[in-house]
Symmetry: C4
Subunit: 194 residues, 4 copies
């Protein structure tokens, strides 16, 4: 298998996961006169939709950025990538929970756990390639690899904080998820430029 | 990231969003003897389905037409495109509302707002590239850019009118959406030819 | 737009429409002891699923076969293709109806009407290219075009018969749909070989 | 039709089937205070989701591995592949059943039957190409073909055992499915390497 097939398959999964997020927003049975109120009640779903769309979009951009360094793939890499996709595909479920119960601790914690699990798989993929230089396209030294550490640690530490705060300050927890998504968009917007 | 990956990912999102529109049409529980009536009751859903299919099809064609002018993409362009896709992916929701409550003001207004938001993102992408000629494939002067103004303004002004008329003349509002879709099909059918 | 983009987008819609057919099969709430009976009751859904999967598969193969003759596409061709995709995407709905009410006249008739509408769009695309030889890749004379007439007419005439028979002999109507699908698989299995 | 189009279409179906597995996990209506319990009750769904994701991933990897040996495709091969995709697309249904009734005999048996049916189609494709060397890219002798026999037989014999044990020892049956998936991941992780 070439890296191109794996990338195309991954792109397909990213595109489907991001697009079926909308299926989470379901209007409850209501008569026309209460439609405006029903839509207002769905507001947390719209927020969860927008944030999760951006989050999956971020994973897609990050996936591509890291695949630039890859020249070929092997069996272990394929299955680490499959586990990454498993968590990306899972995202619509915690996104639904967060839309339905926006300030409850369980959804906020599950959301964070899913994000950390996805990041961890990405981290394992990077780690694996750092020990298998034969998979790399360009000279990508251990030093380059360690440059990525701080951002990995910062993002996931923030998610851990969001999880811990969820039962006590759910709003702060939610704001951390939104804030990190915003910051990462700007981060990737800058490094994707060429 | 090359423009081709971004285009392929966008194509995937367009294809999924357009195809899951059909999931909006759900037959209510009914016994066989009332099936014909149940289908007649779904008529507004069929109209909303067909129109929204054409509308997303139009955005797809417009997306490609504009990508012809692009040579490469940068981070800002990627995220403007992501926001465009966010609104395209959102379309099945207002399409469902319009199918369920075809002549109510709220669905008609939300439909228009979604269309304008999508157009606005397309406009921002065009605007951004006009200020970043290094992203353009061919000589695309500010003058060329300004040629597109009238059509942008006309279409979105029509949507604004449809939104304003929605509470008073919902049928007129609906007809404007259908009419603009028809006109744009003919417009793109002509310029896509080569 | 090149024919390749249009083909890739169409492939995406075909692949999604064919895969979401499974969402039509929903197990009703039942306790474990009645599960076997519940699955037996779903039997008509399994038949409708398999047949509709084959039918969309056939349209996909036919689409590719006809795209072999195409060198480039123009605006009218793109929109005829979009209408074809509209009916292909619509298929999960009549497929659901047929699974739910397998021997009722309305679902059997709607199924036939959808198939004829899809075929008609394919016919219009072929007709259009026969009048626009500049779109064709290879010498494809009017004579070649007329060779396809008999099979078009036979298939659609059978569907018309199935629609007419639906209220009186629903089983015969259903068997016609299955029979035509089978015959077409063998027909395309032979001509796709090269 | 080239093998590349068939592969791309198949990839699309694999990617969609694997991603819509998440739609099987639906939170029942519950108030926030019982959310944690509701999620615990969904545990069997999470297991079925993860296992089925890996299983479809395995079919995708196996599909690609076998397509490496193919140089071109003919009509029979296309339709054998279509039947393979039919069973792959069907997977979300037995996956849902297994999530809903994890230790009941019917879901465990249906799951095994679906896996065997999918494997059988893969086997028929391999068998067909072994009798049509003109489709093969590289020298792939009958001997090479027979090398694959043991693994095919072992896997499917295990599934048969799981089906037979399902009514008596459902847990053993379930563990067999999980175990085979794990073993196959390691098997493919090794042979995909190059």
């Amino acid at each position: 298998m070439t890296k191109y097939r794996l990338e195309a398959f991954s792109d397909g999964v990213f595109a489907i996961a991001i697009t079926i997020l909308i299926l989470n927003i379901r209007l409850p049975e209501t008569d026309a006169s209460h439609l405006q109120q029903a839509l207002k009640d769905l507001a947390p779903h719209f927020v969860a939709y927008a944030m999760s769309f951006i989050v999956i979009g971020l994973y897609w951009v990050a996936h591509h950025t890291s695949f630039h360094k890859i020249a070929k793939v092997d069996g272990v890499f394929i299955w680490l990538n499959m586990l990454l996709l498993l968590f990306v595909s899972f995202m619509p479920f915690p996104a639904y929970l967060l839309g339905k119960y926006p300030l409850e601790e369980v959804p906020l914690m599950l959301y964070g756990v899913t994000l950390i699990a996805t990041n961890l798989m990405g981290f394992f993929m990077t780690l694996y390639t750092s020990y298998h230089p034969e998979l790399l396209a360009e000279s990508f030294t251990k030093k380059d690899f360690m440059k990525q550490y701080p951002i990995y640690i910062l993002v996931n530490a923030s998610y851990v904080i969001a999880i811990i705060l969820a039962p006590f300050f759910p709003k702060v927890s939610y704001i951390i998820y939104i804030g990190i998504a915003f910051i990462m968009v700007f981060f990737y917007a800058r490094i994707s430029a060429k």
